[in-house]
Symmetry: C2
Amino acid sequence: MASKSKKTTTEAKIKRLRKRLKKARKKVTALKAEMTSSALGATVSPLAPEGGFPSLPEIGGVTFATAEAGVKYKGRRDVMMARVAAGATVAGVFTKSSTRSAPVRDCQAKIAAYGPDDMNAGYAILVNSGNSNAFTGSVGDQAVAVTVDAVAASLGIPSSHVLTASTGVIGEPLPAEKITAVVDQLRDTQSSDSAALAAQAIMTTDTFPKGASAEVSIDGNPVRIAGFAKGSGMIAPDMATMLVFIFTDAKIAQRDLQAALANRNSGTFNAITVDSDTSTSDSLILVATGASGVEIGGPRSASNAAFSEALGQVMLKLAHLVVKDGEGATKFVEVNISGAASDGDARKVAMAIANSPLVKTAIAGEDPNWGRVVMAVGKSGARAERDLLTIRFGDILVAEGGWVSPTYSEEAGAAYMRQQELAISVDLGLGSGKSRVWTCDFTKRYIEINADYRS
Amino acid sequence: MASKSKKTTTEAKIKRLRKRLKKARKKVTALKAEMTSSALGATVSPLAPEGGFPSLPEIGGVTFATAEAGVKYKGRRDVMMARVAAGATVAGVFTKSSTRSAPVRDCQAKIAAYGPDDMNAGYAILVNSGNSNAFTGSVGDQAVAVTVDAVAASLGIPSSHVLTASTGVIGEPLPAEKITAVVDQLRDTQSSDSAALAAQAIMTTDTFPKGASAEVSIDGNPVRIAGFAKGSGMIAPDMATMLVFIFTDAKIAQRDLQAALANRNSGTFNAITVDSDTSTSDSLILVATGASGVEIGGPRSASNAAFSEALGQVMLKLAHLVVKDGEGATKFVEVNISGAASDGDARKVAMAIANSPLVKTAIAGEDPNWGRVVMAVGKSGARAERDLLTIRFGDILVAEGGWVSPTYSEEAGAAYMRQQELAISVDLGLGSGKSRVWTCDFTKRYIEINADYRS
């Protein structure tokens, strides 16, 4: 019996040792992976959606083509052109940067001048990656004019109907001739099902292409909305550093389309931040082709409400994807502020938390360091009173009444922080102001990516 | 025999497993060491001044002592007490955080109430590192009261004359009893020449102690100013995350001392940023002992101007040292803005550049990425016109007239960026507003330090 008991003990010992060995070896693998992933160039973000780029519905009245123009990148498609049939309306929102790029200035002027007559001719949207054509002086403006005119001539549409967007390095002259050289090719290879390729062509430091769609029924008739986006660094309002192109087959007046877009922007693309830096090139262009024949009414109509809601969903999905591809991101973080003296104050607190390097590095380290959340509330400039604050990580009550909650355990906090998607909620206990923004963590990869972007 | 052989096999198996486990664990340790090589506090900042802590002049009327209280750190001095003789005046400026710490609230209330009668009794300043006593609710206030009363009783001075400062982790209760246990020891070991030890005792993630001094002649009589500071993360106005203690033997009214301090703060401690995060504990306390017998007049007197100038020099030196010990810093960067529509606009642009993660990572990568400077100008919210901007790296003209300068070469820019101390200058070409701030680069070390600060 003694032998049996000894055997049992020995077996248990072996079992224990094997378990420990397995654990240690797992740790070795994990650490090695961590080290190589930071040594590697481009790994796909761990926050990328499973299943890859979604299957987007085709939108009547719009087609896409892509080409390898070699603007900066070699051996990849770096230019895309969307062609929109006559009968469409176009809206846009753009960066507020005072040093915004030549294409942004050009688009802003054109869209502001669009009226009912513009429905008589089609549109084109020409986008390149690798060069942002920002801070390139009058040469930059000329590059826009040259590419715009080439597209207009090739497609037989007015130059005022050609919109352009450029993303990439700032301050280098855009080689317009490389783009104009592929315009006819872009015209001749248009297809209605190549949004996925278009989404890839506009990528820069993005690790995956981003697409989203929605369908909404207006009086029993389906309206489709589909879009794609790029952007992974220089992401902050107003707006995030992005290019976004959304297409719908709804029939809607330009004025109402612009209003719907602007209205949904504050809670979506203007509510995300990766690094607090604002691009000179942010552009969000929304095209309504009217191909469904379904008319959307004015701002107070039921059809407008339903359309706007669906549009907002597509915008929010794309905005979240941009954060999930935040440079070096390993965590997706929702910041919820309530009980502020005003919505403006809530926004200040939300952004102070979402942009705080100390909060974001703590999240990267899976450290439930709620003291840094307190710090960020304190520095935000919003009205706040220590003893009225309530802080939650997910559903876990962390702090209230000016101090850590008696029910809070560091173990529970630490376990929560190991999740990939996190929510930090702060109630200020002062009023009814609220705000919700999204951000990611701040990792060594962000530094790696940005310390040698141009080399 | 079978049994024996089995036993041997089992033992051999255990031995093998143990060996493998040991090896795997060794590997974990090695990998971890590699990943955190140059681990916390182990390496001194490459920007630390040569020659180490300066030889500070003794200031008549003030002595220091330090002790190992074990507040958080073991085996190092973590508490310091400065004792100030009767006849002194005391001024202070503090963080504007709405979640500021218990000691900060206590100091602010006390200093605001100081009047001429307060010269009749001495003062004490008690400082601990390792715990900031911030967001610790009423327990935090009690901890301040307990330590203050212990010092007052030990020294025989009013409690209102005991100022405290705490730095370290937020949200953990301050073990006041560990501090009160060493108060008598601190009283009995005071000496006039231990500012260097005091400067060390208040360090947290600092990699070197920071001291500076100046001597100024007022009507032929010397006045000495000496101070020390801590702070390397959570550094941004208002103020940088710091504790600073400056002592002078000048004889100056409390009101004039406070005015001189506040006046010099905006161009020194409020003009530095490491990570845009503002501490809940920033405290700058200035003590004038009067021991020199040299009287400093009101704000418009020549003596006040000379004294303020020297005070400003000490403050600027200390502020620069704080940036040079910025967490992970490898570059010291001066940002000069001129030609802005107003000083306020210039300040906005300066801070937008100094806090931009993209600018700071480019500097870390020695990349003369002036496009990111353009981006930061654009996002600042200040009035700016692309074609009027002039950008310089040191003396190198980089961009003007809305584009890169024809005289600029990328090689010259890259060579410049390899220097340890850099200057980025932007002239907005609009008016006479100007601002100068200091920052450091943003490196992987910052992330390392802050992703596991508490562990």
